[in-house]
Symmetry: D2
């Protein structure tokens, strides 16, 4: 039972910081997306490949709590835990913590689904089987 999830270590790049000298709020969504896609790869799901096949993995809702700002030079870890929320919706519980002190930076719940060629929500078989195993 239970799914271990996935963690990815990253580091702030200077161009991601805004005039306040901190990582701009929108950039955390880039970090979260990148971690989800890297997680998918470890599960045998390639985002770009699915897009080419006409299956669009889409985000329908995000909730992000900003706890601490990352600044130039910071290393951090993005954790992802996946959970099926309904027959067609998946929830990604994602936390970003600064390294090495593990201070909470961002806490997020990203809800997504997959749209088939007709634009209808439909989770791909591969994803369903992974969620069942989870």
């Amino acid at each position: 039972m239970g799914q271990d999830g996935f963690t990815l270590e990253m580091a702030v790049r200077d161009y991601e910081c805004d005039m306040q000298g901190v990582v701009n709020n929108s950039v955390y969504q880039n970090y979260l997306e990148h971690a989800r896609h890297e997680y998918f790869k470890t599960l045998g799901i390639d985002f770009a490949e699915m897009t080419k096949q006409g299956i669009n993995l889409v985000v329908t809702r995000v909730e992000i709590d900003y706890k601490t700002s990352l600044v130039s030079g910071d290393r951090f870890e993005v954790a992802v835990r996946m959970e099926q929320l309904s027959p067609v919706r998946i929830g990604f519980y994602q936390d970003i913590c600064r390294l090495p002190d593990r201070k909470a930076v961002v806490r997020a719940l990203v809800t997504g689904t997959a749209l088939n060629a007709k634009g209808r929500p439909q989770l791909p078989e591969a994803l369903k089987q992974i969620l069942v195993r989870a």
Copy 2:
């Protein structure tokens, strides 16, 4: 009573679209931020100026529902309505709708505060007075 809020018309730029051919999720946060800052200007508050003065307007939480994707060539409108949620927190109710059909694109609640030089939440007088008038 009641505050009319603010609306800003914008248009999708091609570099904002990702490999799915739609505006990337993180970009909507850019749109939302830009509309808030433009709104501030009409209220006599300059984000860059405040930053220079050591007052940091920060976002503490976002909730974004993605309804429809914007694509290359789309025009859209970002609406902002501001409301004081607590002595130190402001809520920005923000909607993005596509033009000219006004189809809902994004519905968001962005919560923010202002941090003074000591990093403590403290709304600037100018902002408080505006909220009282609202």
Copy 3:
């Protein structure tokens, strides 16, 4: 003969500024690209549409001189003048100047071509006819 070219007025958005408080160098390429694509539209060429048809308009070289930095609140104008440099290469002479003082911000030469389905350089008929008229 001579071609009048195209100008587009834009304004800096705060998220485009970096920790130095100025528009980040890479963002000017976004401005330049956006102006080229808007110019294309006035000529009846839609970048997204061509991409869908398998014709990729690509940049092969950029030269950008940075003269003055744009900051928060600045309005500016991007000018584009197009010239055929060889049977398969187009040059875009692009200048950005600040408004209203018209101070030079960026001076660029962007060289591009179009790649057909086989990945071979081949200018679309529509583009060739425009260049001939120019």
Copy 4:
């Protein structure tokens, strides 16, 4: 004699790709900047720290040749070699090659300088000494 330079390994993130399914042209400038700043760190120069001290390292010109496009999933290496071009200008010869096949992706010459508090070009002592040693 001679300076060995610096290399940084990176990987494409999906949000960096545009509707053509390749890394957007402007993003390579982000890669190049990030590699330069990481290089600086190995030399004891911290970009954010210098910015705080009022010394702005700025780019005055870029020349970038785009050879091959990076796509989702690609790993690549950014090489930097630094050379003093004049008393106040530094040249960064930067190459990006795809891994593991080392196919040329981008070849760039980025020219920069440092502006002191008065906005005058002036290379910091630390940087000069490094260039002399090179």
